[in-house]
């Protein structure tokens, strides 16, 4: 069986190259998503469904940012929507009012929210993370009010109208924008994966799990909190820009607390600290009410259906499946792994890097050879 050989190889690759495998998965996932607009053009998928899926992917980008905060760093933000909205309005302002083109509009939507996020972080992250929740909520409300009042920037409640951008001289449309969103999502998945796996990710993990341990190991906690918060804000800005380019309009009422809570629901339902889980969570929270529930008789007519759906789902997940969809997937996968004969799982030799020629019996006395490499950083 070819599968058994890849299984025994897994621990080796997880020791040395945790990235490659995941990146291939993200690329394959992206390639498959790019088939959807083709399918839609061939009539196999409704355009409205394609649009719903585009929003799922946009929300997935934003939710991945929140997962960095909530899942990896243990920080809670209630203000995501405000930053997404800011990204959307900035994109519109730079593209349609200033006519600076797609790339500069995108850049503005990435950089400016991040800078504001950084400022909020500097002020609120010094104390306890609950203050971040409060501060982020306040900022989000201030932004919301600004969106309503600042007519020259947002057109207020009348709504800001925009158009599909021109990218590399090419006029985009629904299908090409969908592909751009997919590319953005794949890049964000890769960046997130790299972030949470190396030294950066370990610092975030340690900070969440034990701030004292993190400090004792030399992690500048404030710096890493700020980092997580800025990256999350950057993703929010990106999501906002993509939202605007795809929908070509933005209304202040969109960027309310309900959206922030929905993003949290996506992370919780998908599974904290899972990249594919977050995407699945975005699908369940956003697409299921749109594509399924709203079409049901009776239930579909209930006012505020998506609110009720997210709320109930959060409670159910927290009470019964704390690991979310990711945990559910692991649960389903486990019996299959067992069937395939799981020798590699606990096999002690598999845990070693392949280039080690060390003798195996553990013990204190035999380590002299290993230590030469370890000690050379320190003068005697």
């Amino acid at each position: 069986m070819s599968t058994s050989s890849t299984r025994t190889a897994r621990p080796l690759s997880s020791v040395l190259k945790p990235a490659r495998n995941a990146h291939v998965q993200f690329l394959v996932f992206g390639a498959l998503l790019c088939l959807l607009p083709v399918l839609a053009q061939a009539g196999g998928l409704r355009n409205s469904t394609l649009s719903t899926l585009a929003f799922v992917l946009i929300y997935a980008i934003v939710a991945l940012g929140l997962n960095l905060l909530l899942g990896y760093s243990g920080l809670i933000s209630l203000g995501t929507a405000g930053f997404v909205g800011l990204g959307a309005y900035l994109a519109a302002y730079f593209q349609d009012d200033l006519r600076l083109g797609f790339w500069l509009a995108l850049l503005a939507a990435l950089v400016l929210p991040t800078l504001i996020g950084l400022l909020v972080g500097v002020v609120s992250l010094r104390v306890r993370s609950i203050y971040l929740a409060i501060a982020s909520l306040c900022i989000s409300e201030i932004l919301l009010k600004t969106f309503e009042q600042l007519e020259w920037f947002t057109r207020g409640t009348a709504g800001k109208q925009s158009k599909y951008p021109v990218v590399f001289g090419l006029q985009t449309d629904r299908a090409t924008m969908f592909v751009i969103i997919v590319i953005a999502l794949v890049v964000v998945m890769m960046v997130t994966h790299n972030t949470v796996h190396g030294q950066l990710g370990r610092a975030l993990h340690t900070m969440r799990s034990s701030e004292v341990a993190a400090q004792a190991m030399g992690v500048n906690v404030l710096k890493y909190k700020l980092f997580a918060f800025s990256l999350a804000t950057l993703y929010a800005g990106l999501g906002g820009a993509l939202y605007l380019f795809f929908l070509r309009s933005s209304y202040p009422s969109t960027w309310n607390l309900f959206m922030s809570l929905n993003i949290i629901a996506m992370v919780v339902v998908g599974g904290l600290r899972s990249i594919f889980g977050t995407v699945a969570g975005a699908f369940v929270i956003f697409a299921v009410p749109e594509l399924v529930l709203k079409k049901l008789p009776v239930i579909g007519d209930v006012a505020g259906l998506p609110y009720i759906f997210s709320g109930v789902l959060i409670v159910v997940v927290i009470m019964f499946f704390p690991a979310g969809l990711k945990g559910l997937a692991d649960l389903v996968r486990r019996p299959f792994q067992r069937l395939r004969g799981d020798r590699g799982e606990a096999g002690p030799p598999a845990a070693r890097p392949p280039d080690s020629d060390r003798p195996s019996p553990p013990g204190a006395g035999r380590a002299a050879a290993d230590q030469t490499a370890v000690k050379e950083g320190r003068p005697a």
Partner: protein, 277 residues
């Protein structure tokens, strides 16, 4: 054993509310020494550790650490002597800057990341050694990849050294207490410290594991060339492994000397008798 000081505690005092947790405490730990700090429950042992590693800011007193040239922060470089070493006062420095100076610690209540593998937990101990910038890591540029590889091998060596290398890939959550204690030690080794602080390393271990621990502590000193300072209630371990011991009670200095001297000391015996009554 050289008699050069690696850490000097100088008239250290700290109070919590009305309680004087440390009262004018002074002692010195030498290079490559195995040093014990003992005292009844609540004597202030963990508080000393916390004052040294700057988790607590002492009300009075200083803590001097001998720091190698390669680890000196640039603004302290002028303090180096002809051997390239300098005695830095730790008091007032940020907590996260301490390990970089060559002082690493474990915690009385094991503090590891349950959701990470043992190997990743150890790698956290090498945090300050990573040179790659955040951007290099986010885009997984060559330097970040290269460093990750080097330090993974080094972390693996530390785990092997403590005899838990075969568990490297397993999650820390759910491991037995003895493994977690070793994991914390491996994590300190990763920093190549000049002094390791162990807060009750034998707590929760059985007799066999404690015997193993004594050997491990000696091996750490011999192989990594660092001093080890431990707080411990298990007197057999302390007397067996420590070269010098300091006893304190209610934050006050009682006695300092070789194990036999401490065992025979009147004040120390009284302090411990008082505890048992």
């Amino acid at each position: 054993m050289s008699q050069r000081a690696v850490l000097s505690i100088d008239h250290l005092s700290i109070s919590f509310g009305g309680l004087k947790a440390l009262d004018d405490l002074s002692f010195t730990i030498f290079d490559q020494e195995i040093f014990g700090l003992i005292g009844p429950n609540g004597a202030g042992k963990t508080t000393v550790f916390n004052c040294v590693t700057q988790f607590y800011r002492p009300d009075a007193g200083d803590v001097f650490l001998t720091v190698d040239q390669s680890r000196l922060p640039s603004r302290d470089r002028h303090l180096a002597d002809q051997l390239g070493q300098a005695r830095l006062n730790l008091v007032g420095r940020p907590v996260h800057s301490i390990i970089k100076l060559g002082l690493a610690r474990t915690f009385q209540n094991v503090e590891v990341v349950k959701e990470l593998s043992l190997l990743d937990n150890v790698l956290v101990g090498g945090h300050v050694d990573f040179q790659a910038t955040m951007a290099e890591q986010i885009f997984r540029l060559p330097r970040a990849r290269r460093e990750e590889k080097v330090y993974r091998a080094k972390a693996m060596a530390a785990l092997d050294f403590l005899g838990i290398g075969r568990l490297a890939d397993q999650l820390a959550g759910g491991q037995p207490y003895g493994v977690l204690k070793k994991l914390e030690m491996a994590r300190t080794l990763m920093a190549q410290p000049r002094l390791i602080i162990l807060d009750e390393p034998a707590a929760g271990l059985n007799d066999f594991e404690t015997e193993d621990l004594a050997q491990t502590i000696r091996a750490i000193r011999d192989q990594y060339g660092c001093a080890v300072w431990l707080v411990e209630h298990d007197m057999r371990l302390v007397m067996n492994v420590c070269e010098r011991i300091c006893a304190i009670s209610f934050g006050k200095f009682l006695a300092l000397g070789a194990p036999a001297e401490i065992q025979g000391d009147k004040l120390v015996q009284e302090a411990y008798l008082g505890e048992q009554e």
